[in-house]
Amino acid sequence: MGNPCAIVGIGQTERYKSKIKKSMAGLVREAAQNALNDAGCTWADIDAVIIGKAPDFFEGVVMPELYLADALGCVGKPMLRVHTAGSVGGSTAIVAASYIQSGMFNRVLTLAYEKQSESNAMWALSSQQPFSPHLNAGAGGFFAPIIREYMRRTGAPDDIGCKVALKDRRHALKNPHAHMHEPEENLDLDKYMAAMMLWEPLRFSEVCPSSDGACAMVLCNEDLAKKAPNKPAWIHGTAMRSEPTMYPWREEVNPQAGIDCAKDVYSQAGITNPRKELDMAEVYVPFSWYEPMWLENLGFADVGEGWKLTDSGATSLDQGGDIPWNCSGGVLSTNPIGASGMIRFAESALQVRGMAGDRQVPGAKKALGHAYGGGAQFFSMWIVGSDKP
């Protein structure tokens, strides 16, 4: 893994929203400045900038890093733009970590953003590829049949999805940055179950919002981490895996790429039992049922048993669960797509720094950040800890 890498600064959009009335440059600048403030450094202290976002079509700017170079203080510096579909926020953080782990850089800024109000993300994700049949309407349309298959295999009760969504939306009330702050009276299982069906079995209440926002982190080497004003988080492992969207015998409910990626990152961090050894996880769950599915894929529960953890409250911070998932409110409460992976990674780091405010898991020492993308085929994960590995 190379040299130790610490996260010493985290900055987010003050409040993610469906439409933020700022330029893209203003949007990224705010998150980056907040991260620099946390790290106690200035633009001049940054050696390189690593930026990520999902498809350029969302905002209609080809390779927008070129336009954002000035806003991110990059003039005369190295800048790299990562794009790995929905997992990009996580992948970007991992690429940024390799700048430090390689020993080639001392302190870097990494940032991911999306300004979905510039277009319609659902249709941007439904474009027809040349020479290919047009298969789906939006990401939900792609994932709904996979979720139905999960329900068929496990026989899980119909309301598990709504329970996930309710849990995450309750968590979101503790997170001042979260997009969705629903009034208490709306957070009701009957109301969630009665919501309009969008892509059967996914109801309107069980899908992520479309958000604007940016998330940034300052990463540095050991020497600089010692001088940072706030407590650092340390990277204990990073992993990425990819597989094709479709091939015969592909397991779509429990993808091999996710299993392999988790195995890799756990072995780097010396974890054998994630439910016991991790204190919390921020996992990419844009559609409710992906919580039980990822609980199994990531080894927190046996295959077919993930929904029982959700049902028992084990993943709820409010119910004092032993393995809280998505204390920030998760993707179900905030989804600027390209940034969502980095928000997971950043929130896991905030937890082990003890800086997560009302959403803090008491005494959290080790946490997982997770992101996935494409047809549940691209995965990026990291494990961060309060102690240097």
């Binding site: 080809v62 070129l66 990059c74 794009h83 390689s102 474009s127 392999d260 085929q377």
Partner: protein, 355 residues
């Protein structure tokens, strides 16, 4: 710093229109040929990184489909940059520096024949102030060429000489799209497209893909032993970006190339050959000056981007073209350059050596 070498490189023919051949087929051809050169299978590749642009195909996630070309079953460690694949190589090089990987496959692809390339690139600009004016790529390059002429740095004759040399060099490159013997007088007799640029001062629309394989010294020496080829080490690599606002830049120089060249150590030894990613003729002259190269260096022996320009892979192709010559013993030390953005906004410089 770990010693990382280039051990294989393949480029598809740089054609004007690849017809019904899609991205996956282009990538498959390049990747398979690169692996075949050294007898690699996909199991020998530890990390994969690619570069591409969604706007060429007109749909999100161009790179997702391209994964089909790799046979990524079981799943692979893989990443992608929405940049020229030269930066994918940079990412892979960094990951190898961490000690986590010992081999890497890099590929880039672009099918520019799908749409109006030069107008599409207007969408690279500031979306609020510049994009609505739709300045196309050629017009912006013309502004730069004009600024250089006004500053007394270049003449139209020198630009034509760059083109004549490119096409003459390209005669030895079977993948090149534009080649042949042209005199400066012939070229200057052509009409201007966007003054002072003539059509031949601009890169041809090109379809194609390329792939390159990196390895640590141990692996490289073992793989190439007895093949008559030598590993090509990346002894320096750096990239820099500059302001996006054309009005705030001095378009007649390239501050970012100069810094990247210094950091990469261009001047630490004799430069036998240089492959410069200069899509427009005047940019070759500008880059030559920014890198401090003199006439003892052969520039763009492959013909360069004026002879064939796979958008999103043309930078990686510069690295591959230098590496191929060093690998075969035709040169010992070379410089490769890649660019991105309007009027050379972002630049990467790599120094390659056979040793």
């Amino acid at each position: 710093m770990r010693e990382i070498a280039i051990i294989a490189y393949h480029q598809t023919p740089m054609v004007r229109d690849a017809g019904a051949k899609n991205d996956v087929e282009l990538v498959m051809e390049a990747v398979q040929a690169a692996k075949d050169q050294i007898g690699f299978t996909k199991d020998d590749i530890e990390f994969t990184c690619s570069g591409s642009c969604d706007y060429l195909g007109g749909a999100a996630f161009a790179f997702v489909g391209a994964l089909d070309a790799l046979g990524a079953v079981p799943p692979i460690s893989e990443s992608h940059v929405e940049m020229d694949a030269a930066w994918a190589l940079y990412e892979a090089w960094l990951k190898m520096q961490t000690g986590h990987f010992n081999t890497a496959l890099i590929y880039g692809f672009g099918k520019s024949s799908h749409g109006p390339m030069h107008e599409v690139l207007a969408l690279q600009l500031d979306p609020y102030y510049t994009q609505p004016l739709w300045p196309d790529q050629i017009s912006m390059a013309a502004l730069q060429a004009r600024a250089m002429m006004d500053a007394g740095k270049i003449t139209e004759k020198q630009m034509a000489e760059v083109v004549a040399k490119s096409r003459q060099h390209a005669k030895a490159n079977p993948n090149a799209q534009l080649k042949g013997d042209y005199t400066v007088e012939q070229l200057l007799a052509e009409p201007t497209l966007s003054s002072p640029l003539r059509k031949h001062d601009c890169p041809p629309i090109t379809d194609g893909a390329s792939a390159l394989i990196l390895a640590t010294r141990d692996v490289a020496e073992k793989v190439l032993a007895g093949t008559g080829k030598r590993p090509v080490y990346i002894t320096g690599i750096d990239h820099r970006i500059e302001s996006h606002q054309l009005g705030t830049r001095d378009l007649t120089t390239s501050m970012s190339t100069r810094i990247a060249g210094e950091k990469a150590g261009v001047k630490k030894g004799k430069v036998d050959i240089a492959e410069l990613h200069a899509p427009f003729s005047h940019q070759e002259l500008l880059l030559k000056e920014a890198l401090g190269l003199d006439d003892s260096t052969v520039i763009n022996p492959s013909g360069g981007p004026l002879a064939g320009n796979i958008f999103m892979s043309a930078g990686l192709d510069r690295i591959g073209a230098v590496a191929t010559r060093i690998m075969n013993g035709e040169a010992n030390r070379g410089v490769a350059h890649a660019t991105s953005g309007a009027c050379l906004q972002q630049n990467l410089v790599a120094v390659l050596e056979g040793k």
